[in-house]
C-alpha cells in the first residue's frame, strides 16, 4: 500500500528540474574554450607564415627594411589582438567558474536537509521558484521583469539573464524580418550545428532567397539565383522537398501561386524562423525546450488537484484555502488530471448533519465553541445552520 503522506527528501532524485543549472555554464565554458582555441589556431598559422615569408623576403633582399618593419609591426598587432581575445575568454571563464561554484553550493545545500518539512527546505524551494520564474520570464522575453526579480532576490548567480537576453535579441530580430544576427550566430556555432544536423542555417538562407524573389526586381532575381546556387543547392540531398520549392518559387511571384508557394511568402514564416532559432539555441546549450516552470506546475497542479477543487459544493469555510481552489491557479488546473489516491483520508470520527454535510467531531466541537454556542449544539461549517448534537449521525468510512 502506497503511503500518500511523506516528508522524505531524496536529494539525488529531487534535483530533476535543476540539471540546466550546472549544465549551461559547462556548455558555455566549452564554447568559450573553443573560441579561445580557434583564435590561437588562426593567429599561430597566420603569424608563422608571415614570419617565414618576411624572413625569406628579407634574406633575398626582396623587401625594404621599411617593409620588414611594417610586417613585424603587423605581427605584433596580431599578437596583441590575440592576447586581448584570450584575456576576454579568460574573464568569461572566470565568471563561469565562479557561477558554477555558486550553483553547486546552492544544490549542495539540499543534501544537508533532513526532510521536506525542514524550514531550510522551504527557503530553498522558494529560491527554486524564483529561479523558475526568472527562467520563464526570460523565455517569454520579459527581460526587465526577469532582471528585477533576480536582483530583488539576490539570485544573479543562479539565473542566466545574459544568455537569454542574447537569445531574445536574435529571436526578436528574426521576428522583425532580419536574418543578419541569426546568420552570425550560425557562423559562431558552425561545427556544433553541423553535428546536430540543424536545418537553421538552410532555412535562414532560404528565407533570404524568398525575400529576393518577393521584390520581383530583375537584378534581385539574378542575385537570388546565384544565392541559391551558393547556399541552397549544396543541400539538395538533405532537403530535397525544399529544393523543389526553391526552383518552383521562380515561377510564382507573390500573390498568384498555389498554396505551398503562397505560403512561402507568408509573414508567419518569420515567427516560425524565430521559434526554430530558439529551439536550436536551447538544444545546443542543453537547455530544455520549454520553460521548466511549465513542467513543475503541470506536475504540481495535478499532484495537488482533487475532484473537490472544481466541485459545485463550496468547501467548508473554516478550512485553509487549497492552492488549486485559489484564484491564481484554479482555471489553469481545470483541464489537468487530478491526483490519484488509493486510500480515503477524511477527518476522524465523522458526524453527518441532517443537511447532508459530514465533518469530524473535533472540528464541529471547536467551531461550535468559537461560535459561542452552548454545549449540545453543532453549527454547519459551510452554511452556518445550527443543529442539536443528537441530530448528527455517525459515518463509517471503511
Amino acid at each position: 500500500m502506497a503511503d500518500h503522506i511523506t516528508s522524505k527528501l531524496n536529494p539525488d532524485s529531487h534535483l530533476i528540474l535543476d540539471q540546466p543549472l550546472l549544465r549551461l555554464p559547462f556548455e558555455l565554458l566549452r564554447k568559450n574554450f573553443k573560441v579561445a582555441h580557434l583564435n590561437v589556431e588562426k593567429e599561430s598559422t597566420a603569424l608563422k607564415s608571415t614570419l617565414r615569408e618576411t624572413a625569406n623576403a628579407s634574406l633575398n633582399a626582396n623587401a625594404s627594411p621599411d617593409d620588414v618593419l611594417k610586417n613585424v609591426d603587423s605581427m605584433i598587432a596580431r599578437m596583441r589582438g590575440l592576447k586581448r581575445k584570450l584575456t576576454a575568454c579568460s574573464e568569461e571563464e572566470n565568471r563561469l567558474h565562479q557561477q558554477s561554484q555558486s550553483r553547486i553550493r546552492h544544490l549542495g545545500e539540499l543534501y544537508g536537509m533532513q526532510s521536506l518539512d525542514d524550514v531550510k527546505y522551504e527557503e530553498w524551494s522558494r529560491t527554486r521558484l524564483d529561479r523558475l520564474l526568472v527562467d520563464y520570464l526570460l523565455r517569454y522575453g520579459y527581460k526587465e521583469s526577469a532582471a528585477e526579480l533576480a536582483q530583488e532576490k539576490g539570485i544573479g548567480e543562479l539565473v542566466d539573464v545574459e544568455t537569454f537576453v542574447q537569445m531574445s535579441r536574435i529571436s526578436e530580430s528574426l521576428r522583425g524580418g532580419r536574418v543578419t544576427e541569426a546568420l552570425a550566430w550560425c557562423n559562431e556555432n558552425k561545427k556544433d550545428l553541423r553535428r546536430m544536423e540543424s536545418k537553421l542555417e538552410f532555412t535562414l538562407r532560404f528565407q533570404q532567397y524568398i525575400e529576393m524573389i518577393r521584390t520581383q526586381d530583375e537584378q534581385k532575381l539574378l542575385n537570388a539565383i546565384s544565392h541559391a546556387k551558393k547556399y541552397l543547392l549544396p543541400f539538395k540531398d538533405t532537403f530535397p522537398g525544399e529544393i523543389q520549392q526553391v526552383y518552383g518559387l521562380l515561377a510564382f511571384p507573390p500573390g498568384v501561386g498555389p498554396d505551398p508557394y503562397a505560403e512561402l511568402y507568408s509573414d508567419s514564416r518569420w515567427s516560425d524562423l524565430s521559434n526554430l532559432f530558439m529551439h536550436t539555441h536551447n538544444s545546443l546549450l542543453s537547455l530544455p525546450p520549454v520553460p521548466l516552470l511549465h513542467i513543475a506546475l503541470s506536475a504540481g497542479l495535478s499532484a495537488l488537484k482533487t475532484p473537490s477543487c472544481h466541485s459545485l459544493h463550496t468547501p467548508s469555510s473554516t478550512a485553509s484555502i487549497c492552492p488549486i481552489c485559489s484564484t491564481e491557479l484554479n482555471d489553469l488546473a481545470r483541464p489537468l488530471p487530478y491526483a490519484h489516491h488509493t486510500n480515503s483520508h477524511v477527518d476522524n470520527d465523522l458526524k453527518l448533519l441532517p443537511n447532508g454535510c459530514a465533518y469530524g467531531k473535533g472540528r464541529l466541537e471547536e467551531y461550535a465553541r468559537k461560535a459561542g454556542l452552548e454545549t449540545g449544539w453543532y453549527k454547519d461549517l459551510r452554511s452556518g445552520e445550527v443543529y442539536r448534537c443528537e441530530e448528527a449521525t455517525t459515518v463509517y468510512i471503511t
Binding site: 516528508s7 614570419l51 627594411p65 520564474l133 530544455p288 525546450p289 488530471p337 477524511v346
Partner: protein, 409 residues
C-alpha cells in the same frame, strides 16, 4: 555535490586560460625584442627574423599545450558532472500549460503581488501588456488553447496591490510589536472572521492585554497608568466586553492571572504570558485570515504547486519511462495514473475513495451513505443493488436504494 565542488576547484586551479595568456605574452616580448634589434641594425633583419622562427614555433606549441590542459580539465569536470547530476529526460509531454500562457502570467502577477514584490509586479504587468504571450504548444503536448477563447478574467492588479500593501503595512506594524492596526482590521472584518470560525480578533486583543500586563521592562512603552497592570486592566475593561459571550473562560483566566502578577513565573498562568512565539503566531494567523477573506490561499499557490511538482516529478518520470517504453498512452486523462506522496501540509481536501470501486468520488459519482452508516460511491451502489434492494458490503445491513443519501465530505 561536495566531490563536484572539489573537481571544480581542480579545474579552476589547474586548467584555466591564464597560462596561455602568459605564454602569448612571451611570444609578444620576443617579437618586440626582434623589432627593437631590427630598428637598431636594419642590416641584421634577415638574421634576426630567421632566428625568431624556432622560438615562435615553440612559443605557440607551449600555448597549445596550455590549451590542451584546459581541455583535459574540462573533460574531467564534465565527467564528474555526469556522475553527480546524471542526465534525466524531463517529461515534456506533460506540459499542459504551453497553450495557456495568459493564465500563467496572471498567476505570476498575483504571486508577485502577494509576495509584496510590487515593483517587479508592475514591471511585469507592463511588459506582459506590451508583449502578450503567444501560446506555444509543442507537438505532442496537450493543447487546451480553445479554452482560452473565453477571455482570461482580468486581473484587478491595482486593487489587489492596494490590498496586499495594506496587509504588509499591518504585518510590519506587528513586526514592530504594534497590534493596533491588526486589531482594527480584525474588528472591521469581525463578521466574516467569525463565519470562518476564526478568533483572530480575540487572540490579538488578548496579546495586547498580555503585552501591557508585562509592563515597561518588557514592552518598552512609557511607564505610566496606561501600561503595566493598570494599563492592562483598563484595556480589558474597555475591550473585553464584546468577547464575553464567546470567550468567557479565557477572560476569566486572564483576570485571575492578575493576582499572580508579582510571581508570574511560578504561577499556573505562566504559559499564557509566555509570548516568545506569540508575535510570529499572530502574524501567521493574520496572513492566513487576510488571504482567506480575499478568497486566496494563505501560502502562495505558485510556491506550493512548484514545490509539489518537484516532489512529484521523480515518480512521474519513472512512469513516463514505462509509458514510453510500452508505447502506451496514459489510461485516463482525468486522473494521474500513479499515487504521489506529498507532505501533510500539502493536503487540503477530504478524499474519499470508494472501498468497492476504488475510485475517488466526484460531483458526478458522489459518496452515498447507507442507513447502516457505511459509505460507498453512487455508481458502486447502483451496481450492488438488485431490484432496488442491496446489502451493505461491510455489514449485514440490508436496505433499499432510496434510503441511501448523498453526503458532502
Amino acid at each position: 555535490m561536495d566531490s563536484l565542488l572539489i573537481e571544480l576547484a581542480k579545474l579552476r586551479r589547474d586548467a584555466n586560460l591564464t597560462e596561455s595568456i602568459q605564454d602569448v605574452d612571451k611570444i609578444l616580448e620576443q617579437l618586440e625584442a626582434a623589432r627593437e634589434s631590427i630598428v637598431q641594425d636594419p642590416n641584421s633583419a634577415s638574421f634576426t627574423l630567421a632566428k625568431l622562427q624556432n622560438p615562435l614555433k615553440h612559443g605557440f606549441d607551449k600555448v597549445n599545450e596550455d590549451l590542451k590542459r584546459v581541455h583535459k580539465g574540462q573533460s574531467a569536470y564534465g565527467r564528474a558532472l555526469d556522475k553527480n547530476l546524471p542526465h534525466k529526460e524531463l517529461p515534456f509531454d506533460i506540459d499542459g500549460l504551453a497553450s495557456r500562457p495568459a493564465l500563467i502570467n496572471r498567476a505570476i502577477s498575483m504571486h508577485l503581488l502577494r509576495e509584496g514584490q510590487f515593483q517587479v509586479a508592475s514591471t511585469f504587468l507592463d511588459e506582459a501588456q506590451e508583449n502578450p504571450p503567444q501560446p506555444s504548444p509543442m507537438p505532442g503536448t496537450p493543447n487546451f488553447s480553445e479554452m482560452d477563447e473565453t477571455e482570461v478574467p482580468s486581473l484587478k492588479s491595482q486593487e489587489l496591490q492596494d490590498k496586499f500593501s495594506n496587509m504588509y503595512a499591518i504585518l510590519n506594524e506587528l513586526k514592530a510589536q504594534n497590534l493596533h492596526p491588526a486589531i482594527e482590521w480584525a474588528r472591521a472584518n469581525s463578521h466574516e472572521l467569525e463565519k470562518r470560525g476564526s478568533n483572530l480578533e480575540f487572540e490579538l486583543s488578548k496579546l495586547q492585554f498580555v503585552w501591557l500586563f508585562l509592563g515597561p521592562s518588557v514592552n518598552g512603552l512609557p511607564n505610566d497608568l496606561n501600561n503595566g497592570l493598570s494599563g492592562a486592566l483598563v484595556y480589558a475593561q474597555q475591550h473585553f466586553q464584546r468577547f464575553q459571550a464567546r470567550f468567557l473562560k479565557d477572560i476569566q483566566q486572564l483576570a485571575t492571572a492578575m493576582a499572580y502578577s508579582s510571581n508570574l513565573k511560578d504561577s499556573p498562568y505562566y504559559r499564557t504570558f509566555d509570548i516568545e512565539t506569540a508575535w510570529d503566531d499572530v502574524s501567521t494567523s493574520f496572513t492566513r485570515e487576510f488571504c482567506s477573506l480575499l478568497g486566496l490561499s494563505a501560502e502562495s499557490p505558485l510556491y506550493l504547486a512548484a514545490t509539489a511538482g518537484a516532489i512529484a516529478l521523480p515518480t512521474l518520470l519513472k512512469l513516463y519511462a514505462i509509458v514510453k517504453e510500452k508505447r502506451t498512452e496514459w489510461t485516463t486523462r482525468s486522473e494521474l495514473p500513479v499515487e504521489i506522496a506529498l507532505p501533510k501540509s500539502m493536503i487540503f481536501h477530504a478524499i474519499f475513495v470508494c472501498p468497492v470501486s476504488k475510485e475517488q468520488t466526484t460531483d458526478q459519482n458522489p459518496p452515498m451513505i447507507m442507513p447502516c452508516g457505511h459509505v460507498v460511491a453512487k455508481e458502486s451502489l447502483q451496481r450492488l443493488s438488485k431490484g432496488g434492494k442491496f446489502k451493505c458490503p461491510y455489514c449485514p445491513g440490508e436496505s433499499i436504494l432510496s434510503q441511501a443519501r448523498e453526503i458532502i465530505l
